[in-house]
Amino acid sequence: MNRPNRSTRRHFLASHAASLTGLAMASVIRDEGLRAAPSKPALETPTFDTRPKEPHHEPRARAMISLWMQGGPSHHDLFDPKPEMAKYDGQPFPGEIKYDNAAQASSKVFASPWRFAKHGKCGTEISELLPHTAGIVDDITLIRSMHTGVNNHGQSIRALQTGRILAGRATVGSWLVYGLGTESRDLPAFMALVDPGQLPVLGVENWSNGWLPAIYQGTVVRPTEPRILNLDAPAHLQGTPQRRSLDLLESLNARHLSDHPGELDLQARMASYDLAARMQSAAKEALDVSRETKATQSMYGLDESATRDYGTRCLIARRLVERGVRFVQVYTANQLWDSHGSIRSRLPAACTKVDKPAAALVRDLEARGLLDSTVVHWGGEMGRLPVVQNDTGPKKIGRDHNTYGFSSWVAGGGFKRGHVHGATDEWGHKAVEDPVGHADYHATLLHLFGVEHDRLVYERGSREMTLTDGQDCRVVEGLIESV
C-alpha cells in the first residue's frame, strides 16, 4: 500500500532503529553500546522489528515448513523396521520399559503388522503405510534416532518446539524470526496453519513468542475460509479513504509514543498496523490456492476428500515461503498420531491424511528450485513403544509413548538427501546410534540458517536466553550435505 505521508514514521525509525541491521536488536545493543561504555547501561530501550538481519555465517536455509505430527507417529510401523521382532511377537519384552499409561500397560512385544520395502536409489526402507513418502526417499534424511526423553506430550512438545520442557519459552519459529527477520514485508513472518479439528496439545503455546517481544508470535491462519478474518476494507472506504485513515492513525500513534518513550508494546502495535495494511492485498493472494494449476492441486490431493484439507494447507505453506515467509508450521489435529489403541485402523487413517500432501510438498519445492533453501520437517514429539498397549484384542491394541527413540524426517535447506541417520536399539526402543536430541536438532537447524545456537541471544532482564539454553548439544554434521 502506498503511503504518501510517512514523514512522522520515517523520523521515528531513523532515530531509533532504522540504521541497525545486525542480528537481533538486543544483541546489537549489547555488543555495540555496552562494550563501548560498560559501566553505563543503554539509555534507550531496544526496539524490535522483523526486517531481514545478517546471519552469523552464509546460510543454507532461508525458510522452513514444519509438518507437525502431534501425538507421536509410530516409528515401528512407519520408518524403523525391526524384522527380528516378529519372532518375539506376543512374548514378554526382555528389558525395562517406562510406560505412560500404567493401567493399560503390557509387556508383550508388538511386531509391526505392516510390511516394509526398500525405495529409491538410496534404498531407504519405508512402510507400506506411506507409499508417497516412499517416493521421495532420495530427497530426504530420515532420522531414526530422535529423542527427548520426557514421556508425555506436553513436555516433549515443549522440548521440540521451544527447546526445554518448561512452559513459557519462545518457539523455534519465533527464534528464527527474532534472529533473521523476514524477507516478506507483506505477510507475517511466522504463520501457523491449524487443523479444522481441535488445536494440537498445548494449543497456542505451539506458536507462542514466550518472553520474546510480541511481534515474533506466530499468526494463525484459520483452517477454513476466510483464512484470515477482516482482510477486506469496508466497501466505501476501500482505497484512498482507508489509506488516509491509516496515515492519520500513524501520526496520532507516533505522537502518543513520543509521550511514552520506551513502551515496546506501543511500537509493536504500530508495526502490526503496518503489516495489517500490507496483508490486505498480499495475504489474500498468498492464501488463494485456486491460482494453482489443476495438476498442482491434484498432486497435493486437493481433489480427494481424505487429503484435501492437509493438502490445501501444505500448498498454502509453499505459497507462503515462496513469498518470503520465514517459518510455517502445518499442524495435524489434536493427538492424531497418539495410537494408544486401535492402531490397526487409526494409524492408516492418519497416514492417508498426510502422506500424499507431504510428499507433494517436497517434490513441488524441488521442481521450483526452492528445496535447496527451504527446510521441510516431518515429525512429532515422540514415537511409540515396542510393546502392546491395551491388550484387549487385535483390533483394539495400540502402543504407548516412547520419547527415548523415534523417527522424523527432514529435507532441503542443506540437509542430506537419500540418507538415513542414526538407529534405535534392536527393539526400536531407544536411540543408540548417533542419537539426535531436541537440542542437537535445534542447534543443527539454526546452523543451516546461518546462526550459531549459543550466539543467538535474547536478554531478558539480567538473563541471557537462547533456544538451546545451555544444554549439552552439538551441530550434527552427519545430517548436513557437504557443499
Binding site: 507475517p188 511481534i215 494463525v220 511514552h260 527415548y404
Partner: protein
C-alpha cells in the same frame, strides 16, 4: 505413614543449627538439586533404583548396589559425582544438573559432606519436608511489618506509598510526578468500571479542586454496579467460569451456570467479606445445614456460590469417554482451580508423584482431594444434568396447583360451550333435511360410530354437512369458534402465571456419605494405594492434628469443606490473604507484587516487596476482609496517582518498573474494549444479570452474538436480538468452543480449566479487526451519529466531542487542525463515490471515529 513423616519433620524443625554460610551444607545447598533431579527414582518411588536412596546424607554413604554413593572428603572417589559428571545420571530427560550445581556437590563432598543437623533415625517413604522447605517465604505467617520511614514523607498518602518509596529511595529514585486529572479519572474508570468516563464526569472532576474530590470519585465508582461486573470478571477467570461443559466437540451448554456468575457480581458489589466469599463458594451447601429445599433467598445465594466447584470442564455426561477417566479429570481440574485460585500453589503437580519443587507430597494432594471426595465422589457421580438443584418450594407447588385448577375451570366451561355450539349447528343442519329423514339422521348421529348400521352410515354419508365436530365447527359458526378460542387462550394465559421452576448448578454433598480417599499410584485411579484422610498442606501444619474432621457429627454432611474453608480464612493461613491481595494489586498496577499470581512456590517469582505484601495481607484481615477497603488503600495512594511517563534515569535504573516509580501502562482487556466501544457509541445496554446472550456462527464462521438459526446446517435468517447484543461482555455466553471473535482476538482466555493471568498480545489480526472488522465499523458509525446529534454541524465541534468521548480530553490545536482537514478531504473523496442514501460527511466522521478507537491512546490506559 503420614504421621511418622510429620513427626520426623517436626523433630527436624526443633533443632536449630547455625550454618557456616560459605561451606555448602546438605539441607540448604545439595538437597534441592538432588530432589529436583534424582529423588524420583532414588528415594521417592516404591522401588529404589539401584537400591540407592539419596534423601539423606547417611543413606548416600550407605549406598546402593554399586556401593557407597559418596566418600565424604574425597569427591574424586565419590560414585555419585562420577555418574553425574559423566552425564550418565540423571538419565536423559529426567532432569539436568548444571555445572554450577555439580561444583557445589563437589565442594560439599570435599568439605566432608556436612549436614546442618543430625539426620532422622527413621525415614518414611516419600517426600521428607525439611526445615528449609518450611522456611520458604510464602509459608511464613503473615506479620504486619512496621511502615518504613522515607526521606520524603510528603509523598506518602497511604502506607503503601511508604513501602514503595523506601525501596525507590534506596535506589536514588522516587515517584513520578502526579498524573493529570483527566488521566486519573480515565484510569480509575477503566480500572473500577471497565468503561470510559463520560465527558461530563471528566469535566466535573477537573473542575472540582477540593482535596476530597479524588476520594469522592473513588467512592462513587466503587459504589457503581459496574464495579461488580468489572471485578467479577477477574474472579471468573480465576474460577474458570464457562457456560458450557467443554471436553468434547459438542461442548454442551450449562444452562444454569449464569446464576453463579450473577452471585459473584453481586457479592463483589455488596463488598461481601472475602472470608465469607470463600466460605460460601467452598461450602455453601454445608452452611445450609440441611437438604436444599424450601430455601430462603439467602440460602439460595449460598447454594449458588458452590457453582465455584462446578466450573471445571466436564465430559461426564457427554458420552464416548471412559467414565472413570472423565470423572477423575473433573476432580483433578477442580483441585487445580482451588489450589491456584485460593492457595497460589501448583498442588496439581503432586497428583502423580511428589511435587518436584515445592514441599507438597503426593499424599497431600490426596488429602486435599479427600476434602472434596464426599461431594465429588467419582464412584457416586452426579453428571451435569443431575447436579441441578430445583428451587421449587412448597408454596410454588401449591400456587401452581391453584393456577391449574383455575385453568381447568375455564377449560370445563369451554368444553360445555363447545358441546352446545356443536349441537346447535347440528340441529340447524338437521333442519335442512327432508322431514322423513330427520329422526333417523338424529339417531344415527347419537349412535356410537362402531355400532351404526349400514343404513345409518349411508344416511350420514348422504348428508356430510351433518358431520360437524370440534375441528370443523369454525366452518359453520365462526363466532362460536372464536369465542371458544378465546377461552382456550385464557386458560393458557392462566397457566403461564405458574411459577417457572428455577435451578442452580450447585455442589451438594449427600447426607451421610463419607467415601474413602486413596492415594492413586502415579495418579491412576485404577491403582488406589493407601487411604488418606482430609487435611490441608502438611508444610503449613503447626500441630499434629488436622483442622479438618473426617466427619463432623453436628452436620448431615461430613463438614470437611466447611472446616477446610474455615481453616483457609481463619486469618492465620499464610497463603490465602497474600494470594488475594496480590491479585487485587495486579489488576490495578498491571503486575503483582508476586508476578506469578497462581504460583507462590519455588517456580514462581519472589515478591518484589515482601513487607508490603504482608502489610497488605494483614490489612485485609484487619479490615474484616473488605476488598473495597483494599481498593481504597491502593487508589488513594500516591503510587496509583503517578504519571506513567518515567524519566530516562528511572527507565535506566529500573527497566521493568518493578519498583513502581511510575504507573504501568496497560492495554484494555478484551471485554473492556468491547464494552467501551458500545458505551462510546451510545448503544450499550446496561441491563444486568440473567441467562447469557447467545453466541452463534455468522456466515463466514466467526463467532458473533446471535440466536443460532440453522437451516440444513447453514446459518438461516438472522433473529433480531432487540438490544441484547449490546449488553456487557460478562453477560455474553462463555461457551468454550465459541469464543466471541471480537473478544478472542484480544486475548480472551480459554478456560482449560481456568486462567491465572491473561496474556496481552499485539498481533496483526487485532489491527485488521480494528481497521476492517464489522463490529468496529458499526461502532464507529454509531459513535459518529452520536457525535453529530450532540455536537451539531461544525466540524470543529464534532472533533472536540469525539476527542472528549474517546480520549477524555480536548484536542490540541494542531490535532484539531489535522482532524478537520481530514474530515474535509475524506468527505470530498467519499462524495465522489457516494450513493443516494449515503451522507459523505457522516461517513467521514465515522472514519475519524474509527481512527481514534484504533489508536494507542484509546487502547491503552496510562
Amino acid at each position: 505413614m503420614r504421621d511418622s513423616l510429620l513427626a520426623v519433620a517436626l523433630t527436624a524443625v526443633a533443632v536449630v543449627v547455625r550454618a557456616d554460610e560459605a561451606k555448602p551444607v546438605f539441607e540448604r545447598d545439595v538437597r534441592p538439586v538432588l530432589r529436583a533431579a534424582c529423588f524420583h527414582c532414588h528415594g521417592e518411588d516404591e522401588e529404589l533404583a539401584g537400591g540407592l536412596d539419596l534423601r539423606l546424607r547417611r543413606l548416600m554413604v550407605t549406598g546402593g548396589e554399586s556401593g557407597s554413593a559418596i566418600d565424604p572428603g574425597d569427591p574424586d572417589s565419590s560414585y555419585l559425582l562420577d555418574r553425574i559428571r559423566s552425564g550418565e545420571m540423571p538419565p536423559e530427560g529426567a532432569g539436568h544438573v548444571s555445572e554450577e550445581d555439580v561444583a557445589t556437590i563437589e565442594r560439599w563432598i570435599a568439605a566432608g559432606a556436612p549436614t546442618l543437623r543430625p539426620e532422622p533415625e527413621k525415614i518414611g517413604r516419600g517426600l521428607l519436608i525439611t526445615a528449609e522447605d518450611r522456611s520458604w517465604w510464602s509459608f511464613q505467617p503473615v506479620e504486619r511489618p512496621a511502615v518504613p520511614r522515607v526521606q520524603r514523607p510528603e509523598l506518602v498518602a497511604t502506607p503503601i506509598d511508604a513501602f514503595l518509596l523506601a525501596k525507590l529511595e534506596a535506589e536514588g529514585l522516587s515517584f513520578s510526578s502526579p498524573a493529570e486529572r483527566r488521566t486519573l479519572i480515565r484510569r480509575l474508570s477503566f480500572s473500577l468500571r471497565g468503561l470510559p468516563p463520560s465527558p461530563e464526569e471528566v469535566a466535573a472532576f477537573e473542575a472540582d479542586t477540593s482535596p476530597a474530590a479524588w476520594e469522592r470519585l473513588v467512592d462513587r465508582f466503587l459504589a457503581s454496579p459496574a464495579y461488580g461486573e468489572r471485578w467479577g470478571r477477574h474472579w471468573l477467570d480465576v474460577a474458570g467460569y464457562a457456560d458450557s461443559e467443554g471436553v468434547v466437540e459438542a461442548d454442551v451448554q450449562r444452562k444454569w451456570a449464569w446464576k453463579y456468575r450473577d452471585w459473584v457480581v453481586n457479592a463483589l458489589n455488596d463488598d461481601m467479606p472475602y472470608d465469607q466469599f470463600v466460605r460460601e463458594q467452598l461450602a455453601g451447601d454445608e452452611l445450609l445445614g440441611r437438604p436444599p429445599s424450601e430455601l430462603t433467598e439467602d440460602e439460595v445465594a449460598r447454594l449458588t456460590a458452590t457453582g465455584f466447584l462446578r466450573t471445571a470442564p466436564d465430559g461426564t455426561a457427554s458420552g464416548g469417554l471412559d467414565p472413570g477417566v472423565a470423572r477423575n479429570q473433573v476432580v483433578a481440574d477442580t483441585i487445580e482451580i482451588v489450589g491456584s485460585s485460593l492457595l497460589g500453589m501448583t498442588v496439581q503437580c503432586a497428583q502423580c508423584h511428589e511435587h518436584r519443587y515445592d514441599p507438597i507430597p503426593q499424599a497431600d494432594y490426596y488429602a486435599l482431594r479427600a476434602v472434596f471426595e464426599p461431594a465429588l465422589d467419582w464412584k457416586a457421580w452426579k453428571t451435569p444434568p443431575q447436579r441441578l438443584v430445583s428451587l421449587e418450594t412448597e408454596a410454588d407447588r401449591s400456587r401452581a396447583a391453584e393456577i391449574e385448577a383455575e385453568a381447568k375451570q375455564i377449560e370445563a366451561k369451554r368444553s360445555e360451550q363447545q358441546a352446545k355450539a356443536i349441537e346447535a349447528v347440528f340441529q340447524r343442519e338437521l333442519a335442512k333435511l327432508p322431514d322423513d329423514e330427520r329422526e333417523a339422521a338424529s339417531t344415527a348421529r347419537k349412535t356410537e360410530a362402531k355400532k351404526r348400521t349400514d343404513e345409518q352410515k349411508a344416511l350420514l354419508r348422504k348428508y356430510p354437512s351433518l358431520n360437524v365436530s370440534a375441528g370443523s365447527l369454525y366452518l359453520y359458526d365462526k363466532k362460536a369458534a372464536d369465542a371458544l378460542k378465546k377461552l382456550a387462550d385464557q386458560a393458557a394465559a392462566v397457566r403461564r402465571r405458574k411459577p417457572r421452576t428455577q435451578f442452580v448448578r450447585a455442589l451438594v454433598e449427600p447426607a451421610g456419605h463419607a467415601p474413602s480417599t486413596f492415594l492413586f499410584h502415579r495418579g491412576d485411579h485404577e491403582q488406589p494405594k493407601e487411604k488418606v484422610q482430609p487435611a490441608g498442606l502438611t508444610v503449613l501444619r503447626t500441630s499434629d492434628s488436622s483442622p479438618i474432621p473426617a466427619d463432623d457429627p453436628s452436620l448431615d454432611s461430613t463438614g470437611r469443606r466447611l472446616a477446610f474453608a474455615n481453616h483457609l480464612v481463619s486469618g492465620r493461613h499464610p497463603l490465602v490473604a497474600r494470594v488475594v491481595v496480590n491479585r487485587l494489586w495486579r489488576h490495578h498496577f498491571g503486575r503483582g507484587l508476586v508476578a506469578t499470581p497462581g504460583d507462590f512456590g519455588r517456580l514462581g517469582e519472589r515478591p518484589t516487596h515482601p513487607e508490603l505484601l504482608d502489610w497488605f495481607a494483614d490489612e485485609l484481615v484487619r479490615s474484616g476482609w473488605s476488598l473495597k477497603h483494599l481498593h481504597r488503600r491502593i487508589l488513594l495512594s500516591s503510587a496509583y496517582q503517578q504519571s506513567s511517563t518515567r524519566t530516562v534515569e528511572q527507565r535506566t535504573a529500573d527497566p521493568e518498573n518493578t519498583l513502581l516509580g511510575g504507573f504501568r501502562m496497560q492495554r484494555l482487556e478484551a471485554e473492556v474494549l468491547r464494552d467501551s466501544l458500545l458505551a462510546l457509541s451510545g448503544r450499550i445496554n446496561r441491563k444486568p444479570f440473567g441467562p447469557p446472550i447467545p453466541v452463534m456462527a455468522d456466515r463466514v464462521g466467526q463467532w458473533v452474538i446471535g440466536k443460532e438459526n440453522l437451516n440444513a446446517g447453514r446459518p438461516g435468517a438472522v433473529i433480531p436480538m432487540k438490544g441484547e447484543e449490546f449488553r456487557r461482555s460478562i453477560y455474553v455466553e462463555a461457551r468454550r468452543s465459541r469464543p466471541l471473535a471480537v473478544l478472542e482476538v484480544f486475548d480472551l482466555p480459554r478456560m482449560e480449566p481456568h486462567c491465572n493471568a491473561r496474556s496481552s498480545s499485539t498481533v496483526a489480526p487485532q489491527s485488521l479487526l480494528l481497521v476492517n472488522g464489522p463490529f468496529v465499523v458499526e461502532a464507529s458509525a454509531a459513535l459518529a451519529k452520536r457525535v453529530t446529534a450532540e455536537a451539531g454541524d461544525a466540524d470543529a465541534d464534532r472533533v472536540r466531542l469525539a476527542w472528549r468521548l474517546v480520549y477524555s480530553r480536548d484536542p490540541r490545536d494542531e490535532e484539531l487542525a489535522v482532524a478537520t482537514a481530514f474530515l474535509a478531504e475524506q468527505t470530498a473523496d467519499l462524495a465522489t463515490r457516494a450513493g443516494e442514501k449515503d451522507a459523505p460527511a457522516t461517513q467521514a466522521l465515522a472514519s475519524l471515529c474509527q481512527v481514534l478507537l484504533g489508536s494507542n491512546e484509546f487502547l491503552y490506559v496510562d
